[in-house]
């Protein structure tokens, strides 16, 4: 999946990845895709719950080695 913006939060523990993602999403345009790279094992679940709370779309969660790639569609 292609992303407009990539946030690298590898090796950061909770709440680092989510704070970094939320910051990037707040600066993104509606319709853009933001990709989060994280190694925190809580990130996939945390991002899913956060997206549900704030109304952005969780597009995909993938894992490549030890790195999670989580894609968020920015809502309007």
């Amino acid at each position: 999946m292609n992303a407009d913006i990539t946030v690298d939060a590898k090796f950061k523990t909770c709440p680092g990845p989510l704070i970094a993602l939320a910051d990037a999403v707040s600066k993104a345009q509606p319709g853009q895709v933001v990709k989060l790279l994280a190694t925190d094992p809580a990130a996939p679940s945390d991002v899913k719950e956060w997206a549900l709370s704030v109304g952005h779309t969780l597009l995909a969660r993938e894992k490549s080695g030890d790195v999670y790639e989580i894609y968020i569609g920015v809502s309007g």
């Binding site: 090796f11 950061k12 523990t13 909770c14 709440p15 680092g16 989510l18 704070i19 939320a22 910051d23 999403v25 707040s26 945390d46 719950e49 956060w50 709370s53 704030v54 109304g55 309007g76």
Partner: protein, 151 residues
């Protein structure tokens, strides 16, 4: 980030989720989880009410930096300072500032503790919203979905 109102399940009323935290320790191992929850709530569109009381009030003093962890857990202090030094864990103040930037966290300083330490509001960080007593905090916290005492 735009604000999203989450409709409640019944009655057509709108209700924003809220967390209420009482912070009664100024130690790093207590401040970190408190601000992690408040900031995560705030960036998730929740309101967060934080009441700093007893030793927790010391964390609101201007320029305060925690000097260590709770006495019982001294043996693990190195792990925490290592994580902070490596950058994998942000400082408690960094996490708090990121939450405060949403405008959804309110910070109250306990009036009784302030008197006990002989402190005045001008001795406290500017992000402290007000000095409050138990009744004020209860009124702010009564509709919280999550309420925790961290000590």
């Amino acid at each position: 980030m735009s604000v999203h109102i989450i409709p409640s399940l019944g009655g057509g009323m709108y209700h924003m989720s809220k967390i209420a935290l009482i912070v009664a320790s100024e130690k790093m191992d207590k401040l970190f989880p408190a601000v992690t929850l408040a900031t995560t709530a705030a960036i998730s569109g929740w309101d967060a009410e934080m009441f700093f009381t007893f030793w927790g009030l010391l964390a609101l003093k201007k320029g305060y930096e925690p000097s260590g962890v709770t006495f019982d857990y001294r043996a693990y202090e190195g792990k925490l300072t290592e994580a902070l030094a490596s950058g994998s864990m942000p400082s408690w103040k960094t996490v708090l500032e990121q939450g405060l930037a949403t405008g959804r966290i309110r910070i109250y300083a306990c009036s009784t503790s302030l008197g006990m330490f002989g402190l005045k509001q001008e001795d406290l960080e500017s992000f402290v919203d007000s000095i409050a007593g138990a009744a004020t905090f209860l009124s702010k916290a009564k509709d919280a979905n999550v309420s925790l005492f961290i000590s």
